[in-house]
């Protein structure tokens, strides 16, 4: 094997390694220009919201279940939405408390980082996910039934 072949192979490995690194980076991406300490502080903030986040997830699952029930139940949907609203308020309130603590710390976020945090739904590590993806698609449902 000549040196050129070895170089080609090593180059391929290097390329693969780069690609691997890119693929493994995930969708969250972090906050722009965040220091490791800031990233950790945001992670800690979200860890403190775990209970409220779980409650929102559970409430959303319940809403999904009643939405896709065999028979449409308006009262159950309303009740599930109310439960979700309560859970969302609890989560948002807790997040506000934790965020106030973070902003009072040395790891205070910049306006650009806050905007990125909002765009990430409050948790850049988790990414946005893509709720409600299934029924996307445009256009209104058919207006009427024939025959």
């Amino acid at each position: 094997m000549n040196s050129r072949s070895i170089a080609l192979i090593l180059g391929a490995i290097a390329w693969v390694g780069v690609a691997h690194g890119q693929a493994g980076r995930g969708r969250g991406g972090g906050l722009p220009g965040a220091t490791p300490e800031q990233t950790q502080a945001v992670a800690d903030m979200n860890a403190a919201l775990a209970a409220q986040s779980s409650a929102v997830t559970a409430a959303r699952s319940e809403l999904t279940a009643v939405t896709f029930s065999p028979v449409k139940d308006d009262a159950a949907i309303k009740a599930a939405v109310e439960k979700l609203r309560t859970a969302e308020i609890a989560l948002a309130t807790k997040r506000a408390e934790e965020f106030a603590k973070l902003q009072a710390s040395p790891n205070k976020l910049s306006p650009g980082q806050i905007a990125a945090l909002i765009a990430a739904g409050g948790n850049p590590a988790a990414g946005r996910g893509g709720r409600g993806g299934a029924p996307a698609g445009g256009g209104a449902p058919p207006a009427g039934r024939g025959n």
Partner: protein, 432 residues
């Protein structure tokens, strides 16, 4: 040694490269991932969900915006609990509107021919809530599913009539479509104005997609059909049963039109090929393959006439496009929106049993006059499903062993008076 080193390095590179590919695969959750779905959605279910679950984007956008606004309120200092409550209320209203729209749409989907079972609902709702992903997520509207040709073969190249056979000069290719402009030429026969062009292959179970556009008149897509002219009778083939009625019967006109035995034609849809020099009806008559009279009243002796199941097409907002008509057979079998089971009585006479109506209750308003329309036909076993523009138009279970066809040819047709015109394009077929 050097070679062994290179081999190991290459293996290492491939191994790493493989992990990249794996890492780039979508997550298994949601949709149809690597593991087989134990409760896969049928084609009918997918179509129904794709069509009915098309939620207005304004609703989903409102929900997304409200959720973002609430997060924004929670990340604003000083904390404003009243604003958080207001944003949460706005989000709840958006959630309610979205949930109601989804629930209403889902009820429509569940009224289709094949409602989802509880396990399918669980999977579908999980995907719906979690963002779905894979193909089963039904994230696209029905057009997306219609133009997904995965697993399909194209029967028409958009440029030539290669693979297709019809009377010479009657069909051409125009703007990427198989086209006929009706020009009646009565000579020594009554020009019944019915012209076919068939694909020269026999198919059994399949899903067929074809688009059509018609300018006045009546047309149709034949499937699981056969060449029934006597010129295609194989040597030794039994004669056609006279007078119609019963399996193997057919046209009852009494005119000595040369037609094949129906059962033999169903069993051997293409029959005996025409001699290579026979390109037109006149050729066939001149060669003595067809008698010179009496005048053929309905064209069933025409060498390119195709008989059997037909997805019927009418250029009329009140027409019966999408119905099932069986030419030279049981006639109108199912009108739009109807579900029928076909059987035979003890004497072999055909029996139609009305099973109900498709929940789509499809009507002529779904036919797009003067535009391209999308046909989908599913023929599987003894079940036939007609869909037009994403809606189920009729379903037939053919349990009549003497008349049903479990295989046959596909043919495009135009009939009717002068100046009728039809175009067919994007002919795709998937063998099932």
């Amino acid at each position: 040694m050097k070679n062994r080193f290179a081999f190991v390095v290459c293996l290492l590179a491939l191994a790493i490269s493989g992990s990249v590919v794996e890492a780039q695969q979508p997550p298994a959750g949601g949709g149809r991932g690597a593991t087989p779905d134990p409760n896969p959605l049928s084609v009918v279910q997918q179509v129904a969900l794709s069509r009915e679950m098309a939620i207005p984007t304004a609703l989903t956008a409102a929900q997304t915006a409200a959720a973002s606004a609430l997060v924004g309120a929670s990340l604003t200092l000083p904390a404003n609990t009243a604003d958080i409550a207001a944003k949460a209320q706005a989000l709840a209203e958006a959630e309610l509107a979205l949930a109601n729209a989804r629930a209403t749409a889902f009820q429509r989907a569940q009224k289709s021919l094949q409602p989802l079972n509880s396990a399918q609902i669980a999977t579908y709702s999980r995907n719906a809530a979690g963002g779905g992903g894979g193909r089963g997520g039904a994230g696209a509207n029905w057009e997306t599913a219609y133009y997904d040709h995965t697993g399909f073969i194209s029967l028409f190249d958009g440029k030539t009539l290669n693979g297709w056979e019809g009377e010479e000069g009657k069909w051409d290719v125009q703007d990427g479509a198989i086209h006929r402009h009706q020009t009646l030429e009565p000579k020594n026969f009554v020009d019944f104005g019915q012209y076919h062009i068939h694909y020269n292959e026999v198919f059994s179970d399949f899903e067929l997609k074809v688009e059509f556009k018609i300018k006045t008149g009546n047309a149709g897509v034949q499937y699981r059909s056969r060449l029934e002219s006597g010129v295609h009778a194989q040597d030794g083939e039994p004669p056609r049963a006279p007078g119609g009625g019963g399996p193997g019967g057919g046209d009852a006109s009494g005119v000595a039109i040369p037609q094949r035995n129906v059962a033999a034609a169903i069993a051997d849809p293409l029959g005996k090929p025409l001699p290579p020099n026979i390109k037109t009806l006149d050729d066939a008559i001149a060669a003595g393959l067809l008698p010179k009279g009496p005048l053929y009243g309905n064209g069933t002796g025409h060498p390119w006439q195709v008989s059997g199941y037909q997805f019927d097409i009418y250029d009329s907002p009140t027409g019966n496009t999408g119905s099932l008509y069986e030419g030279q057979g049981r006639g109108v079998i199912a009108n739009t929106g109807e579900v029928y089971r076909l059987t035979a009585d003890a004497n072999g006479n055909p029996v139609k049993t009305f099973l109900g109506r498709s929940s789509d209750l499809t009507g002529p308003q779904y036919y797009k006059q003067g535009e391209w329309n999308q046909i989908e036909i599913i023929a599987r076993g003894n079940t036939l499903i007609h869909m037009l523009n994403g809606k189920v138009f009729c379903v037939i279970i053919d349990d009549d062993p003497g008349r049903r066809a479990l295989k046959g040819i596909i043919s495009l047709q135009l009939e009717g008076p002068q100046d009728n015109e039809v175009w067919y394009r994007n002919v795709w077929l998937k063998k099932l």
